[in-house]
């Protein structure tokens, strides 16, 4: 009962196939002349042959063209002959008025085929080799016809009637563009006239390939209406984001529903598809859903699926698609319902991807159901539930010795543990029912995660699950990035040398992901599980590659794509591309943490340009976030907000997204710099609301929110409160082992104490932060901690100015090389202050030594609108000028100082569309 699957690949005869048969008959009419009757030249004849070849190859596809589409294509192909051809086809079709006509027609077809031993072959005679492509097609058609019952023949007859009627009714007079260079190809063909047909076909095949590369017009999937095939791709590579991205959801839906609906429309010519075809369609759609996330419209696709389900009640895959669809639209109940339904019906044993296990146990594969269920709970933010389910999945897969599933489950668990953070999981893994009983309960969650990761990786390697191996390597890299591998029990200064994270390991892990793609390149044949449907590379060919990611400058749109040559020859599955892409994303993050801004940016850019089509929308959003943040830090807010606008249009449908969070972050930062403390607090509160959402607590966001809260308080000069917030935040970070964040918080604490005038209290914090930074190789943060340390020394008194200056100079290369505008400016100002407070330094002797950094700082701060620091810079400048005895310049500097202080104290409300609409939205 379970998983009844009808024999795949049933070849049903349809009106379209009948017309193709008619054309084949014309092409290979049993005549004696080398160029049969209607054709005037060999090239003309060959052109039809090419076309027919394409048609027969695409006959296994999901959609068949209607007669008018066929006629249009014929017009294009047939040249002078088009009238004759179309007339012939239509008249032949309409002459089929009784079942007997059909019988006769197929009998005639049989004559076209040469027998296997048809004896004497005259030189010029055109006979179809029964083993050639066209011959096979004819034979399949004849066989399918012979298998039809009488009722079936009647239905075929009715369908042909409908097929013809539609073509006549629909106005078919529009012209298609010509394929300009198609003629040339054929001209060259016509040179060798007396070739054996088989040989010609071989040649034709090659030519077809070549031509396909050259043009966009004709492909094997001729039938796919052009507007559709481009639509899908347009969603991502749209030329003008402003106008087209807004309704991308609608477009994709029209693709999803419109096509299939037409396909199943009872009165519009029924073309029942084979199981394989529908399954292929469903697989394509599944990929699409995953890729586009919630921008894939729910209802239209749901409608299609429902229709499909009505037609194919035994095709349970539909339920799975419905599950996916609901999943990505956050409909928990329907998703759950459909997931359960799918596995109840199919026992996980349906679809292409099902390979009956060697042991062939008949118990179904319900462990996969558990795996999916676990991932679903994870997706909906129920980590505890997810972990429970995954635990059960581990047990059941062990029971049924389904190692593959086990490996995937472990990977899912790792993912869960590392994503959700460690706030909620403690206590579950520690329970005696955890899958890793051997691990025992004494280990911290991180250590358990590490053990899990190792185990999962080993399992995946031994099972040769390449993608999983790559994914595990990525997860490992992520782990290595933020966690010290050795037990954290003996954390202290003595063992600190051992306790560093190692960037080399991270890099190694990231690199090992690349083997994957090279393996897929050299053995592309193994990945053709989706057979005729893996047309990804074909699409790639036609796509105008390389959209600039954040191109608010509408000038230079480069059409050059560095990755093009890489993708072209082999059909790399989307999932592999996604994995490789995410390794770039990881690299970007790693460099961000390690503090190399240019490398982080470069990696993010690589991802955005090369992997944009393969990435899921959330990953794409993430990379945009990274790039925009980079802009904000290095180019100032104006550019960042402009880029944000572009990004917002691109990711319109995603409501509670990273983009929104980033927007709030940017707003907050700018408000702080401008001194709009009220606004800053407001934005900060909004962030807090996002963090305390109903779906599981996102630790990252939570820390972010309270960090910003502390910053706001600091800016408002409420030092004790700020210190309290930062302190509790540090406690939290410490508790959940968020060590990278701990470093940041410690630095903030040092700053708070410095600003409140307690430099002595601040020192240990800064030092602690430094040691954290060292442990985790956070070079940029370390530089900034050193800067704070220098500031602290400086504020201890002028006799420490030398120490401060030495410290500062040590950090300068890093700060100037990788630091953002604010950091650089701060460093410059501090340097100037050091010089000024140094009693042995005289301004009049060497004014530029002080003035130069101050000017630099003022310049850089301009973009950030950071009034406080600007005021400080100008104040120092004024002092210097005063000492130098240049009153004019002094007045100028003092005036700027005054302006900045004024605007800091009275933040006048600038017209700001972005911030006002955020607040409205929120």
């Amino acid at each position: 009962m379970a998983g009844v699957v009808k024999a795949p690949g049933a070849f049903a005869i349809t009106p379209h196939k009948v017309s193709v048969c008619i054309l084949v008959n014309i092409y290979a009419s049993p005549s004696q002349i080398s160029v049969p009757f209607p054709f005037s030249s060999v090239s003309q004849h060959n052109r039809l042959g090419l076309y027919l070849l394409a048609l027969t190859k695409s006959c296994d596809d999901i959609l068949e063209p209607k007669l008018d589409q066929l006629i249009n294509q014929l017009r294009e192909i047939g040249g002078l002959l088009d009238h004759w051809l179309t007339d012939h086809v239509t008249s032949r079709l309409s002459s089929l008025s009784s079942p007997d006509d059909l019988f006769n027609f197929f009998n005639e077809l049989r004559e076209t085929l040469g027998g296997p031993d048809s004896g004497v072959m005259e030189d010029d005679q055109v006979i179809l080799d029964p083993n050639s492509n066209l011959g096979m097609f004819l034979r399949r058609c004849i066989l399918a016809f012979n298998l039809l019952t009488f009722e079936g023949i009647c239905h075929l007859l009715t369908n042909i009637g409908i097929y013809c009627k539609e073509a006549i009714s629909s106005c078919s007079s529009y012209e298609l563009r010509r394929v300009d260079d198609s003629g040339n190809d054929f001209e060259s063909l016509s040179e060798d006239e007396n070739m054996d047909l088989n040989l010609v076909f071989k040649k034709i095949n090659e030519e077809m390939e070549a031509r396909k590369r050259a043009t966009e017009q004709v492909s094997f999937h001729l039938h796919l209406p052009k507007e559709l095939s481009t639509l899908v791709e347009d969603i991502e590579v749209s030329a003008d984001p402003k106008s087209e991205h807004n309704d991308k959801g609608r477009e994709s839906s029209s693709y999803a529903s419109g096509e299939l609906l037409r396909d199943v429309d009872p009165n519009g010519g029924v073309f029942l598809r084979t199981n394989w075809q529908i399954q292929g369609y469903l697989m394509e759609q599944a990929d699409a859903i995953e890729k586009h996330g919630s921008s894939f419209t729910l209802n239209a696709f749901e409608l299609t699926l429902r229709q499909l389900q009505k037609l194919a009640p035994e095709l349970h895959r539909v339920h799975f698609l419905r599950y996916l669809n609901n999943l990505y639209h956050d409909d928990y109940f329907s998703a759950l319902e459909n997931l359960l339904r799918y596995f109840d019906y199919s026992a996980g044993t349906e679809g292409f991807d099902f390979v009956p296990p060697a042991g062939c146990n008949s118990f179904g594969r319900y462990e996969i159901a558990l795996l999916c269920l676990g991932m679903m709970h994870f997706h909906f933010g129920h980590p505890k539930k997810a972990l429970e389910v995954l635990t059960e999945a581990v047990r059941v897969s062990q029971q049924h010795s389904n190692d593959t599933c086990l490996a995937y489950t472990l990977a899912a668990m790792c993912n869960l543990l590392s994503e959700i953070g460690f706030s909620t999981t403690s206590g579950i893994l520690g329970s005696p029912f955890s899958p890793m009983i051997s691990v025992g309960t004494s280990l911290s969650v991180q250590q358990q995660l590490f053990v899990l990761l190792k185990g999962s990786l080993k399992r995946a390697e031994s099972l040769k699950l390449k993608q999983l191996v790559a994914a595990n390597h990525l997860a490992m890299a992520k782990f290595d990035l933020t966690h010290v591998q050795r037990p954290l029990l003996s954390f202290g200064p003595k063992t600190s040398m051992k306790l560093r994270t190692c960037p080399i390991i991270v890099c190694k892990e990231l690199r090992s992901g690349y083997h994957l793609i090279s393996e897929f390149c050299c053995e592309g044949s193994t990945m053709t599980a989706d057979g005729a449907f893996s047309t990804a590379w074909l699409k790639n060919l036609q796509k105008p590659m390389g959209s600039l990611v954040l191109s608010q400058d509408n000038g230079s749109r480069n059409n050059y794509n560095p990755f093009l040559f890489f993708t072209q020859p082999s059909s790399i599955p989307g999932s592999v591309m996604q994995l490789v892409g995410s390794s770039y994303l990881h690299r970007a993050t790693a460099w961000e943490i390690y503090g190399s801004a240019p490398l982080a940016r470069a990696n993010a850019l690589v991802y955005a340009t090369c992997f944009a089509d393969a990435s899921s929308s959330s990953d794409a959003a993430l990379v945009h976030v990274k790039l925009i943040q980079h802009l904000a830090v290095f180019k100032g807010y104006k550019e960042a907000f402009a880029a944000l606008k572009t990004a917002e249009e691109k990711f319109l449908c995603v409501s509670k997204s990273r983009i929104l969070i980033m927007k709030l972050q940017l707003l907050h930062e700018r408000a702080l710099h401008r001194g709009h403390l009220k606004l800053a607090q407001q934005v900060c509160d909004e962030l807090g609301v996002l963090a305390s959402s109903v779906t599981a607590v996102d630790m990252e966001l939570k820390t972010e929110a309270s960090l910003r809260h502390a910053r706001t308080l600091l800016a408002a000069k409420q030092f004790s409160q700020a210190a309290a917030v930062a302190h509790s935040l540090f406690c939290m970070c410490y508790k959940f082992n968020l060590q990278v964040e701990s470093a940041t918080v410690l630095l903030l604490l040092a700053e708070i104490h410095m600003k409140s005038g307690n430099a002595v209290v601040g020192l240990p914090y800064a030092l602690a932060s430094l040691s954290y930074c060292q442990t985790f190789n956070l070079d940029l943060l370390r530089a900034s901690a050193t800067l704070t340390l220098a500031e602290l020394w400086l504020s201890l008194g002028s006799n420490h100015a030398k120490t401060a200056l030495t410290l500062l100079h040590g950090a300068f290369p890093m700060i100037l090389g990788h630091g953002g505008l604010e950091l650089c400016a701060r460093a410059y100002i501090t340097e100037a202050k050091c010089y000024l407070s140094d009693p042995s330094f005289s301004v009049s002797k060497n004014p530029e030594l002080v003035l130069d950094p101050l000017r630099q700082a003022a310049d850089e701060l301009q973009a950030l609108e950071h009034h406080e620091l600007m005021a400080e810079a100008f104040y120092l400048m004024a002092i210097v000028f005063d000492k130098l005895g240049q009153p004019e310049q002094r007045e100028e500097a003092a005036c700027s100082f005054k302006n900045h202080v004024m605007s800091l104290d009275h933040p006048h409300d600038v017209e700001d569309p972005i911030q006002s609409d955020t607040l409205l939205n929120a």
Partner: protein
């Protein structure tokens, strides 16, 4: 004029004869120019049936590689158009309205269909077909309450039937009982009462009713599957076989008959054969809910869990309120060692039938399973089970055991006591009784409530086995403890 009518009458009669011979198109053709209301209805109805017949045929002919064709009744469009015009011109009779409602329902226009059907039954209440179409369109109480039905005794029948469908069994039962006062000899009402009582799990009365019914209506096949279910639960082998024999003589190809035979084989433990008959029942009626569920049960017995899951799932998809199928799904997954997964299904099941103790117990056992070991949740479930008339008295015993396991002696004693009371009332004996007595005796002893402890100990003395010896020693210990101080004194002063 009269001649005209006579001629028209002749046309009508000819068409009716064709119609009765199932030559629908012929009938419609004869009536093509007739304008009388009766003729119009017959013509339209004949066309509708012709379309339906062709649809069924096409469904088989066109069974494509995907399993099902998209055959539709091709007459619907023209029928809808015609009936809509008639309706607009107010030249339509209640039967025409009924047909219009039917067509609208098929076309998916449920709201209008409901309105039209209500109009039809209000103007002609005795058309039960219209009522049943209306019923199929009322899936919730809210929809039902929104209907504007004029009062008539037919409405009572309708309400009773729809209440049953909506699982409001008590309301349904009272309606039927009222109706029985009016229609004393109605077999239909009797059968419906039996079904309602069956849903309320009053098996004894149901059996009596069905016996009575069969006396009055010996060749009845309708509703006999319910009777067979009762006989099955009561394990009446011979009665069930007698019933099966009887229905098979009456009509072999009724889904009910097949179901009864399936039940019989199931009771005999011949599950393969049972499945064969359930399959046959399903072939006759693909939406036969209980057959799917029962077949699921058989597959469970045969340890073919994927098939069982599939069968249950089909039942659930036909009627999502079928708690038995949900329960079956849960059971199947539990059998496969997936208790966490099974819980979801058990939850569904108890949601739809919160008064059935077996469901609660099954869920509790799931929580108790070694993999989950969520004893607190299990206790909650057992408590619910104990509250809803747990006939097998599992819940109380398990509750006591669990509390003992969780080291909550007070609660454990409470439930042991309750269990004990119950066993006394039902005059049951067995290891549970001894266990309860034993626990209570030791518990009260440690609580220093010696009188109670003594009562339980003396009762234990009636049983053979090691407990008896333990009881004896307990008693001895208590005596010593009770006379503790004096005896101590004696010992002190003697030497």
């Amino acid at each position: 004029m009269e001649e005209d009518e006579a001629i028209h009458g002749d046309f009508y009669l000819l068409a009716k004869s064709y119609f009765d011979c199932r030559e629908y198109r012929r009938a419609a053709h004869v009536l093509r120019d007739q304008t009388g209301k009766k003729s119009v209805f017959l013509r339209c109805y004949a066309l509708y049936l012709a379309g339906e017949k062709r649809k069924e045929e096409e469904m088989i002919e066109l069974e494509g590689p995907l399993g099902k064709s998209d055959a539709v009744n091709r007459e619907l469009v023209s029928l809808e158009r015609e009936l809509a015009t008639l309706c607009k011109n107010n030249t339509i009779d209640p039967f025409g309205l009924y047909l219009y409602g039917l067509v609208l329902k098929e076309k998916g226009n449920e709201n209008l269909a409901r309105k039209v059907l209500v109009e039809s039954v209000n103007s002609y209440p005795w058309n039960w077909s219209a009522w049943s179409e209306l019923q199929s369109l009322c899936t919730t109480v809210d929809i039902l309450n929104g209907l504007n039905l004029s009062n008539h005794w037919m409405k009572e029948f309708f309400l009773a039937s729809i209440y049953q469908e909506l699982r409001m069994h008590n309301e349904s039962l009272s309606k039927y009982e009222n109706l029985q006062g009016m229609f004393t000899f109605s077999n239909y009402i009797q059968a419906q009462i039996a079904k309602a009582r069956y849903s309320l799990r009053e098996f004894e009365q149901v059996e009596v009713i069905f016996e009575d019914l069969l006396r009055n209506d010996p060749y009845r096949v309708e509703d006999m599957d319910t009777y067979s279910n009762v006989l099955y639960t009561k394990e009446c082998f011979s009665a069930l076989s007698y019933l099966a024999h009887r229905v098979i003589m009456t009509d072999k190809y009724r889904p009910e008959s097949c179901c009864i035979i399936g039940n019989y084989y199931s009771l005999k433990g011949q599950h393969e054969k049972s499945v064969v008959y359930f399959r046959r029942a399903l072939k006759l009626n693909k939406n036969y809910l209980s057959a799917w569920t029962l077949m699921g049960h058989e597959y469970v017995e045969m340890k073919n869990t994927p098939a069982a899951v599939d069968a249950y799932r089909r039942a659930v998809d036909i009627n999502p309120r079928d708690y038995r199928a949900w329960y079956g799904l849960g059971q199947a997954y539990e059998m496969m060692g997936m208790p966490h997964y099974a819980l979801h299904y058990f939850r569904k099941s108890v949601f739809f039938q919160p008064i059935d103790s077996r469901l609660w117990i099954a869920m509790a056992q799931c929580y108790e399973s070694e993999q989950l070991h969520m004893l607190k949740e299990a206790i909650k479930c057992y408590k619910r089970a104990a509250n809803c008339n747990d006939t097998e008295a599992i819940a109380l015993h398990r509750l006591a055991m669990l509390h003992r396991e969780l080291d909550q002696p007070e609660e454990a004693a409470f439930y042991y006591k309750k269990d004990l009371e119950r066993m006394e009332a039902e005059e049951r004996e067995g290891p549970n009784l001894v266990e309860a007595l034993m626990f209570l005796a030791t518990h009260y002893k440690t609580q220093k409530k010696f009188e109670e402890a003594e009562v339980y100990c003396t009762r234990l003395l009636d049983y053979t086995g090691p407990e008896r010896e333990t009881a004896k020693s307990l008693l001895r210990g208590m005596r010593i403890a009770q006379s503790g101080f004096p005896s101590m004194d004696v010992e002190h002063f003697h030497p």
